[in-house]
Amino acid sequence: MDALLELRDLSVSFDTPRGRVHAVREVDLDVRPGECLGLVGESGSGKTQLLLAAFGLAERSAVIRGSARLGGEQLLGAGDRALESVRGARVGFVFQDPMASLTPHLSIGAQITEVLRVHRRMSASAARSRALELLERVRIGDPAQRLRQYPHELSGGMRQRAMLASALACEPDLLIADEPTTALDVTVQAGILELLRELKAAQRLAIVLVTHDFGVAGALCDRVAVMYAGAVVEQGGTPQLFAGAHHPYTRALLAALPRLSTPVDAPLASIGGSPPGPLETLTGCAYAPRCERADRRCLAERPKLAAFPASRLAACFRPYDA
C-alpha cells in the first residue's frame, strides 16, 4: 500500500556557535492511510523536530535535508503558500499544552471557524454550523455555549478537545498529535485517547502520536517507531514490539515501564547513563555506551535499520531474538 506520509533520509540540524547540533539523523519513516503510528522516545530524541521539519514548521535556522512527501507531494522546499494550504487542510496538528495552544482573546468558535474560512472559504454561518458539528463530534457538552466561550473558561480536557475539533475541521487524512495527553491528568488522558481511537475508526484518519509514554502508544497505535538520539532504532507492530523487542534500547525502555505486578518496594528499573549530547559526532551506535550487549563493532560502526521477520526493522548489530 502506498504511504500517506513518506519521510526519507530526513535530517535536521542547527548551526550554533558551539558547533552543529544534530536533532534528527537520516530518518526513514512511512505512515500508511488510516493507521496509527506511535513515535516513542525520550525528551530530545528528535520526535517533535522530525515532524515539525517535515511540514515546514521548524525554526528558520534549521538545516533540513532529505525528503518528506505527503500523498506523493514533496513538502521540503515547497513554498509558504503551498505549505499553508497543506497544514490545517490535509494534516491537522494537536500540541502538548492545550492551555497555551489556543489564542486567549479569541472565542473557541472564532478559532475553529478560522480554519474553515481560511481553507474552505466558508461563509461565517456555514463555518459556524460546521464548528458546532465538530464540537459534538469531539464530545464536548453544550457545544453552542462552548462556541461563545473563551479558552480560559474551559477545562484542560475540553481545550484539548477544542484543539482536536479545529485540527479535524477540514477532514485531514493525517493527524499529528504531539504529546496530546501529557499536560492532562490520567482520567482526562484516557478520555482523549478513547476519542482519538473513535475518530480513527470512524473516518480512516491516520494518526502520528508522539509520546514518551509506551503505555499511551500501546493503547492506541498499530505500529510503533522508537527514536533514540535523533534516529529511529526500531520499528514494528505494537503487539510484536511489546512481546519482544529486537533492539536493546527498546527492551530497556519497556522494562522501565512500571507494572502493577512489580513489588512495591522494588526499585524502579532505569537505563544507566544518558543519551549522547546533540553536539557529539557519533562514530558508532548512539546507544552503544549504555548498551549491555555492545561490542567493539557497535562502538566503531553505525548500524542501519535492517529488516527482521514480521516486517519489523531494527538498527542493531547484536539484536535480541523476538
Binding site: 514548521l57 505549505l83 499553508e84 500540541f95 489564542t103
Partner: protein, 276 residues
C-alpha cells in the same frame, strides 16, 4: 473594556480626568453656540478688555477686540484634533511597522528597525520644521508631519511585544493550522499588543498637542486668523505685562488638557497592566 473596568476600580484621578476631558472637548465643540461673538470679527467697543460678564466677553478680548472665549475654545478644538489625528497616524504606522518587523524577523526586521533608528537620530523638531516649510502651512499636513515622525516609539514597543508573542504556542498552533501570515499578525498578534498600545497612545496625545502648540508658538503651525492654543499663547505672551488674561486663559486651558490626558493615560496603564 467594560469587563476590565468592572473588575477593578479605576484611579479616582483618572476618572476625574476623563470627565474633565469630556467637558473640555464638549466646550471646544459647543462654545460657539453659547457666545454671540464670532472667531475673527473685532468688537470695536471692547478692545483688550479683561474677562467680564458684560457683552458676553467671558474670557476678555485681545488687542484687536476679538473675543477670547471663541478663540480659546477654537484653539482647544484645533489642538485636540491635531493631537488625536497625529496619534492616529502614528498608531497606524507604528503598529503595522512594528508588528511586521517583529513577526517576520530576520533581515527584514533588521532593515526596518535600522530605518527607525535612522529616523530617531534625526532631530525631531528640525525634521518637522523642515516638513512644514516644504509642504507649506497647512493644518492637515501639519498633523501628518507630526504623526509621521511620532510613530517611532510606537513601532519599537509593538515590535518588542510581537517578538515575545511570536514564540508563544498559540501563534505556533495558528501557523500549524495553515493560517496565512498576515492573518496571524492581524488576528492573533495585534489584539494582544493593544493594551500597551492604548496606554502609549493616550500618553502620545498630550505630547502631540504640546508639540503643535510649540510649533504654532514659533509661528510654524496654525496661522492667524485661525486660532490654536499655541498661537494664542504666543500673542498673549507679548501682552503679558499689560493684559495678563490673554496669556493666562489659553495657557490654563492647555495645561488642563495636557494634565487630563496624562492622568488618563496613567490610569489606563495601571488598569491594563497590573504588574505596572
Amino acid at each position: 473594556m467594560s469587563s476590565v473596568a468592572a473588575r477593578r476600580p479605576m484611579h479616582r484621578s483618572a476618572l476625574v480626568s476623563a470627565g474633565l476631558l469630556g467637558l473640555l472637548a464638549l466646550l471646544a465643540l459647543a462654545a460657539p453656540l453659547l457666545s454671540p461673538h464670532s472667531l475673527d470679527a473685532p468688537d470695536w467697543q471692547a478692545i483688550a478688555v479683561p474677562p467680564t460678564l458684560e457683552d458676553s466677553h467671558w474670557f476678555g478680548t485681545d488687542r484687536l477686540g476679538r473675543d477670547l472665549w471663541m478663540r480659546t475654545w477654537h484653539g482647544a478644538r484645533v489642538s485636540l484634533l491635531i493631537g488625536l489625528l497625529a496619534t492616529a497616524v502614528s498608531l497606524a504606522i507604528g503598529v503595522i511597522w512594528g508588528a511586521v518587523a517583529g513577526y517576520v524577523g530576520g533581515r527584514v526586521d533588521a532593515l526596518m528597525m535600522r530605518f527607525v533608528d535612522v529616523l530617531y537620530s534625526l532631530p525631531y523638531v528640525f525634521f518637522v520644521i523642515l516638513l512644514t516649510v516644504l509642504f507649506g502651512r497647512n493644518i492637515v499636513l501639519l498633523f501628518v508631519a507630526i504623526g509621521a515622525v511620532g510613530w517611532l516609539t510606537m513601532a519599537r514597543i509593538v515590535r518588542g511585544q510581537t517578538l515575545a508573542l511570536r514564540r508563544r504556542e498559540f501563534v505556533q498552533a495558528a501557523v500549524a493550522m495553515g493560517v496565512p501570515t498576515w492573518r496571524i499578525v492581524v488576528r492573533h498578534i495585534v489584539p494582544n499588543v493593544i493594551g500597551a498600545v492604548v496606554v502609549y497612545a493616550t500618553l502620545t496625545v498630550p505630547q502631540m498637542i504640546l508639540f503643535e502648540s510649540f510649533l504654532s508658538f514659533l509661528g510654524l503651525g496654525v496661522q492667524e486668523p485661525l486660532a490654536s492654543l499655541g498661537n494664542l499663547i504666543a500673542s498673549g505672551a507679548a501682552e503679558m505685562d499689560t493684559a495678563p488674561w490673554m496669556l493666562i486663559v489659553p495657557a490654563a486651558v492647555l495645561v488642563a488638557l495636557l494634565a487630563c490626558c496624562s492622568f488618563l493615560g496613567d490610569g489606563l496603564r495601571d488598569l491594563l497592566d497590573p504588574r505596572g
